[in-house]
C-alpha cells in the first residue's frame, strides 16, 4: 500500500520511519515548507510536494497519514475521506469536539478507516501498568496520578505556543493520559482543571486536572509545558492492597554528551525496546485494513479524548467542574 504523509515536522519524520518499517511504501511527502518535504522524501525515495490537499487526489495513494498541526487535521481528514483513502491521523483527533464530529461523519460516509495515534496505549510501560492494575495485584484501584511534561515543544514561535491552535498542554499532551485513563478505567464522570496558558513573560503552560471516573476512581493528572528542559512521565496507581509506580527518570539508560557550554549538557534517559510504540500503532492500523481486526483505538475513543480535554479547558475557564 502507498502512503501519503502530510506534515513532515517532528512527528512526520517519526511516522515516515514507521511507515517504511510496517511494510508500506512511503510514496509522497507533503509539507507546506518545501525543504521539510524534500528532506524527508529524499531519505525514503518518495516524491516531495507542498500541497497536501492536491496530493490526496493521487490515485496511487491508499493511505493518508496526517502529522500537521492540529487545526489542519479536519480539512485533511475530510478530503482524504472524500477521496476514499484510509487515514492515520496524529492525536488530538481534531481541535474541538465539533470538528471531530464533522470528521467522523465524513469518514463514516466514505466508509474508510480512520486511526488516531493515541500512542500511549501502545507504550510498553503503560501496557504493564494497565496489566498490573487489571491483574488485581494491588486490589481495587481507587486513585491514579499521572504526570507528563517538560519543555514547551519547538519553542515560543511554534504553533504549539498558540494555545488557540494547540489547545495548550491539556489538549495536546495531557490528552494522552486522559485517553489512557478512560481506556483503562472506563468512562469519566466529571473533570476539574486549572491551566496556566501563559504567554508573558514566558510561554508556558501547566495544567492540573482532577477527574472523577464513573466507577468512582479519582485521577489527578498534571501536564507541563513549563519546564526549562527535559521530558518526564510519572504514573502512580493506588489500590486497596498496594501501589504501582512508574517514573521515566528511572530509565535503564542515561547518557550525557560532553558540551562546550559552561552550563554543561543534559541527561538524556532512554528505554530501548525492539518494537517502538509508534511502530505498534502502525501495525495495528495496517492489520485493521488487512484483516478487519479492530485496533486498540477507535475513532469514537479519539473523539472522547478530545471531549475530555475540551471539558478540562472549559473547567479551567469557568473555575468549576464540568460533568460528562
Amino acid at each position: 500500500m502507498n502512503v501519503l504523509l502530510i506534515g513532515c515536522g517532528g512527528m512526520g519524520r517519526m511516522h515516515a520511519e514507521m511507515i517504511s518499517r510496517s511494510g508500506l511504501t512511503l510514496a509522497v511527502c507533503a509539507d507546506e515548507a518545501r525543504p521539510a518535504a524534500v528532506a524527508l522524501a529524499q531519505k525514503y525515495g518518495a516524491k516531495a510536494v507542498t500541497d497536501g490537499l492536491k496530493a490526496i487526489e493521487n490515485k496511487n495513494i491508499d493511505i493518508v497519514a496526517i502529522a500537521t498541526p492540529t487545526p489542519e487535521h479536519l480539512p485533511l481528514i475530510k478530503a482524504a475521506a472524500r477521496a476514499g483513502k484510509h487515514i492515520f491521523c496524529e492525536k488530538p483527533f481534531c481541535r474541538t469536539v465539533k470538528e471531530c464530529e464533522a470528521a467522523l461523519a465524513a469518514v463514516d460516509k466514505a466508509g474508510v478507516k480512520l486511526f488516531v495515534g493515541h500512542v500511549v496505549r501502545y507504550f510498553h510501560e503503560f501496557e504493564t501498568l494497565r496489566e498490573q492494575a487489571k491483574s488485581g495485584r494491588i486490589g481495587e484501584v481507587g486513585f491514579v496520578k499521572l504526570y507528563r511534561g517538560g519543555l514547551l515543544p519547538n519553542g515560543p514561535k511554534s504553533w504549539f505556543a498558540d494555545y488557540k491552535k494547540s489547545g495548550g498542554v491539556t489538549m495536546d499532551c495531557m490528552i494522552h493520559d486522559l485517553d489512557w485513563l478512560r481506556y483503562t478505567f472506563g468512562e469519566p464522570k466529571r473533570i476539574f482543571c486549572q491551566a496556566l496558558m501563559k504567554s508573558k513573560p514566558v510561554f508556558m503552560d501547566y495544567s492540573q486536572v482532577t477527574m472523577r471516573m464513573k466507577n468512582g476512581i479519582i485521577a489527578t493528572v498534571i501536564g507541563s509545558w513549563a519546564h526549562p528542559a527535559g521530558f518526564r512521565v510519572k504514573a502512580e496507581l493506588c489500590g486497596s492492597e498496594g501501589l504501582i509506580a512508574y517514573d521515566s527518570a528511572e530509565a535503564p539508560l542515561t547518557s550525557m554528551l560532553r558540551s562546550e557550554s559552561a552550563t554543561g549538557s543534559m541527561i538524556v534517559p532512554s528505554s530501548p525496546v525492539s518494537e517502538s510504540p509508534y511502530l505498534r500503532e502502525w501495525l495495528d492500523f495496517v492489520q485493521w485494513i488487512d484483516t478487519g481486526k479492530c485496533p486498540r483505538v477507535s475513532p469514537a475513543d479519539a473523539l472522547k479524548a478530545v471531549a475530555m480535554a475540551e471539558a478540562a479547558l472549559t473547567s479551567a475557564r469557568t473555575g468549576q467542574p464540568v460533568a460528562f
Partner: protein, 327 residues
C-alpha cells in the same frame, strides 16, 4: 530549666515530641496526662516521667508549657483548660477540624496571654526551609503554579473516625502543605475544589481516605494538592510531602523527606527507607521551648492553625457541594 507536660498520646506524634523534649538540654518532660490511663502510664514509663490522671491536678503543676496530642475534636477543650492554667501551648495539627473551635482556641489563648502554636514541623525541615529561602530570594521568579502531595499510610483508629477526627485523609493531610504554602508566600488561599473518596481500604474506614484538591491563592497562583492514605503497608516509608513549583525563571521540585538510604533487610517484610539529616520535630519542639523562654508565639501560631483549618473546612464544603468554593 523549662518544664513541659504532654497532654494525651492519642496522636503518635506525641512519642516523637516526648523524645525531643527529653533530648533538649535545659528541658524537662515533667509529666504526662492522658484520658487513656494505660496509654498514659506506659508513655510515662517509656519517657521516664510521671503520669497524672486528673487534669486539674496535672495543670496545677509547675510546667510552663504543654504539648497537646489528643484526638482532633478534643483539642479545643484541652487548649482552653491549659490556657486558663496559664500554660504555653503546642497543639498537634490540625488545630481543630472546626473553624469555630479553632478561632475559640486562639481567643482563649489571647485572653489568657499565653502562646499557642500549631504543630507544623515541616517548617523545620531543612529541605523545605531551602525551598522557602530560594523562592523568596527570587531565584525562580514569580511562581505561577504548584503541585503538591502529602500521602501517608493509613493511621487507622480514631484518625478514620469522623466523630473524633472531624474528617479523614483530607483533614489529616491537607494542613501541612497549606501551612507550607502560606509560610513560603505570605499569601492566603482563596478558593478550593475537592474530590474525595473512601476507596482505598475496601470501605473499612468511616471517613475519606483520599482527597484531590485544586486551590487558588491570592494573586491567582494555581495549586493542586493530594491528601491521601494511599501508601500500602508494603511501602518503604510512611509517606511523603512533595511540591513542584512552576516559576517564570524556572521550576523547583522538592521531596521533603527524600533524604534517605534504601535498606533491604531479610529481617523485614518490606524494603525500607532509613532517613538521614535533621529531625524536623526537634526543630519544632526547640522553637516551642524558645517561645516559652521569650514569651512569644511559636513559629507557626494559632492563627496559622486557623488559616489551615479554614482551607480543610472549605474543602469538605466543596466535596458536599460538588463545586469549587471560596475560602
Amino acid at each position: 530549666m523549662v518544664n513541659i507536660g504532654i497532654m494525651s498520646f492519642a496522636h503518635m506524634h506525641a512519642y516523637s515530641y516526648a523524645a525531643c523534649f527529653n533530648a533538649l538540654p535545659g528541658v524537662k518532660l515533667a509529666g504526662i496526662w492522658d484520658d487513656d490511663k494505660k496509654r498514659g502510664q506506659a508513655a510515662a514509663k517509656q519517657f521516664n516521667t510521671t503520669y497524672t490522671g486528673n487534669l486539674t491536678q496535672f495543670l496545677s503543676g509547675k510546667m510552663e508549657g504543654v504539648c497537646i496530642c489528643s484526638e482532633n475534636v478534643k483539642h479545643r477543650s484541652m487548649v482552653e483548660e491549659a490556657a486558663a492554667a496559664g500554660k504555653w501551648i503546642l497543639c498537634e495539627k490540625p488545630l481543630s477540624p472546626s473553624l469555630e473551635d479553632a478561632k475559640a482556641m486562639v481567643k482563649a489563648c489571647k485572653q489568657a496571654k499565653v502562646g499557642l502554636g500549631a504543630a507544623f514541623p515541616c517548617r523545620f525541615a531543612p529541605t523545605l526551609m531551602a525551598v522557602r529561602d530560594r523562592i523568596r530570594a527570587g531565584e525562580f521568579g514569580e511562581i505561577y503554579a504548584a503541585s503538591c502531595t502529602n500521602h501517608g499510610q493509613s493511621p487507622g483508629g480514631w484518625f478514620a473516625d469522623d466523630v473524633l477526627a472531624g474528617g479523614g485523609a483530607t483533614m489529616d493531610h491537607t494542613v501541612h502543605v497549606v501551612d507550607l504554602m502560606r509560610w513560603i508566600f505570605d499569601r492566603e488561599f482563596t478558593k478550593v475544589h475537592c474530590e474525595s473518596g473512601n476507596q482505598l481500604h475496601k470501605k473499612t474506614l468511616k471517613t475519606d481516605d483520599l482527597g484531590s484538591l485544586n486551590l487558588e491563592m491570592e494573586g491567582g497562583m494555581q495549586v493542586s494538592h493530594l491528601a491521601s492514605w494511599s501508601r500500602p503497608k508494603s511501602y518503604p516509608t510512611w509517606g511523603d510531602v512533595t511540591m513542584e513549583f512552576i516559576g517564570s525563571k524556572g521550576v523547583l521540585y522538592v521531596d521533603a523527606f527524600g533524604q534517605k538510604v534504601n535498606v533491604y533487610s531479610d529481617r523485614a517484610a518490606r524494603s525500607e527507607w532509613a532517613s538521614y539529616g535533621d529531625n524536623p520535630d526537634l526543630g519544632l519542639v526547640h522553637d516551642f521551648i524558645e517561645s516559652i523562654r521569650e514569651r512569644r508565639s511559636p513559629c507557626a501560631s494559632g492563627e496559622d492553625g486557623v488559616a489551615a483549618t479554614a482551607v480543610t473546612v472549605a474543602a469538605y464544603k466543596s466535596i458536599k457541594a460538588g463545586k469549587a468554593v471560596r475560602i
